[in-house]
Symmetry: C2
Subunit: 378 residues, 2 copies
Amino acid sequence: MEAFVHAPTPEGVGYVRTQRMHWTTPLTLASGATLGPLTLAYETYGELAPDRSNAILILHALSGDAHAAGYHSPTDRKPGWWDGMIGPGRAFDTNRYFVICSNVIGGCRGSTGPSSPHPVDGKPYGSRFPIITIEDMVRAQQRLIDALGIETLLAVAGGSMGGFQALAWAVEQPQRVRGAILLATSARSSPQTVAWNYIGRRAIMADPRWQGGDYYDGEPPRDGLAVARMLGHITYLCEEKLEQRFGRRGDPGTLDLGPRFAIEHYLEHQAARFNDRFDANSYLVITRAMDSWDLAARYGSLEAAFDQARARFLGLAYSSDWLYPPSETYQMAAAAHAAGRSFTTHLITTDAGHDAFLTDLDMQSVLIRDFLDRLAAE
Amino acid sequence: MEAFVHAPTPEGVGYVRTQRMHWTTPLTLASGATLGPLTLAYETYGELAPDRSNAILILHALSGDAHAAGYHSPTDRKPGWWDGMIGPGRAFDTNRYFVICSNVIGGCRGSTGPSSPHPVDGKPYGSRFPIITIEDMVRAQQRLIDALGIETLLAVAGGSMGGFQALAWAVEQPQRVRGAILLATSARSSPQTVAWNYIGRRAIMADPRWQGGDYYDGEPPRDGLAVARMLGHITYLCEEKLEQRFGRRGDPGTLDLGPRFAIEHYLEHQAARFNDRFDANSYLVITRAMDSWDLAARYGSLEAAFDQARARFLGLAYSSDWLYPPSETYQMAAAAHAAGRSFTTHLITTDAGHDAFLTDLDMQSVLIRDFLDRLAAE
């Protein structure tokens, strides 16, 4: 195993742009409804090998997008959301692999979602956008991988909801996935995550500006989305981290009901930033898709689900992640082993909570690099 | 130590009524503002001994009230919120002790709060209600204990925010408190609890029906209070309990954004019930009081705070309580010991989360009965 090395080539993948793939043929959804024409936003990093054997598909979490690495322009304050993981010499080494990051349908970051024009009248879907599932997201992505001329993916990888998609890929497209890297994720949404998602949706839908979902002519439901985001944010961090970062710092002299403590100002800041880049209806549609994620129910048992797969699995769990706790990874591993599948788990000790897969990159980089080395050598 | 016995006399304290004490003299608050005239709702169970040595004051949590035990009328579906703990032969044995439960100022259950008439115009305080602290609640309760003719309390006891008050009593009125029973509580609000409270308030204040707090002529902000309550409810339960009670039961066929899973229907039910009995402004004022709770900041250190106290302490922590985790109890115990105070801790193994002090009564009953026996014998 290699030594821990921080980003050997700090310049990463450099400048990139988000691309879009369009299909006029509608996609038939799990519900029976159809969605089309369809657009999927994606980015790619590195070069596809002549034998097309080196492609890795990266899937993102609830609030992510196709911009996983590099910069769009010199004025960007921040690179893509997993920049430290993707680039020359990084865990997903773009000197060796062709890395694709695909957005999800239902989103608002370039792919077909509730804010996209409805084919009948050209006005935003709004309340007309159908209920989708994780499997629907993955079926849209299969079109993208087809269109890129890739038969078999060396690996699929994702954290949180990205892990849902990676696992769905491995189970639903067994012949196309050689390895699946599942970070801070689960084979189903637990009652607690369903509850958090529901409360966030409840806040959005109670915002009078939501207008039943048809608010695109007016003000968006910023207050509802703010509450949903604040709530989510606290579930992504653990108590110890909040203690370190914020403690009880604040202004004890403030005698009103508004923000006073550092943690409160932080939540407002996060909510405002999220409102600037995310659509409330996408939050509703994507969290509902997350809630319906339950692989055991779909296949009769988790073992039966893993029995479908052919990939090798790497499951990374994070000690302070209480939203998708390590026990969820161990349950997947147990079911995979019962089905005779290869599933390696690692527990990473961290105080970064669920967000660790986005922020604590050292250990996971070593483990992922090693996993990919072995896959590529097979 | 006695055997574990469930409610030896099932009839408990029988029928009771909530009483109210009034004072025309305003109470000066920590902020320097005054609040008056003042009303405090309370209930009592058992008889005060001729030497007035057997009084125990029970303090309630955020959503509680003075009705801790017994029934108000034959049509009541449920008894008071701690009925299993208070009654003949129960932990707070009304054959031996005179048990008082006091409501808090800022509330909406019979004591002066934002929905009470303002002395100047007789209209509800609304936005004019002052910011209060835990210490202000306790100072109002001191008037009640004075008026009942009680010099020294055998014990003060409370869980969660009730524990804040019990601890404030012990530290601020050392000569009047012989024992303090602290359940599922802490000497300060952690950044995470501050954050949950803030998000709940944010939801209420974003509800357009809140009207800056002056909504008593119209509709109350039911949606905002619903979100706040749902959020609180999930923090009171632990993952294991949610799994047992709800799992992923629901109607997978529902293709909309509303409630579909059992956990979602449960949250809506809890929110509706809470809206029927609780005032949103009281939720704001009381959670703000909780946020300001920080005994170490007030006294320079937690050790210095405990140095003020003279009571013996019993601290009960609950293994699955992640809102006020056992570490908070151990921190109080360590500070008390450093100050030379008697502080006994017990960790109760339970899957009931923070709510355990309201629902898992067997073990805590034994421990509290034993603690009171020793106090009374001294």
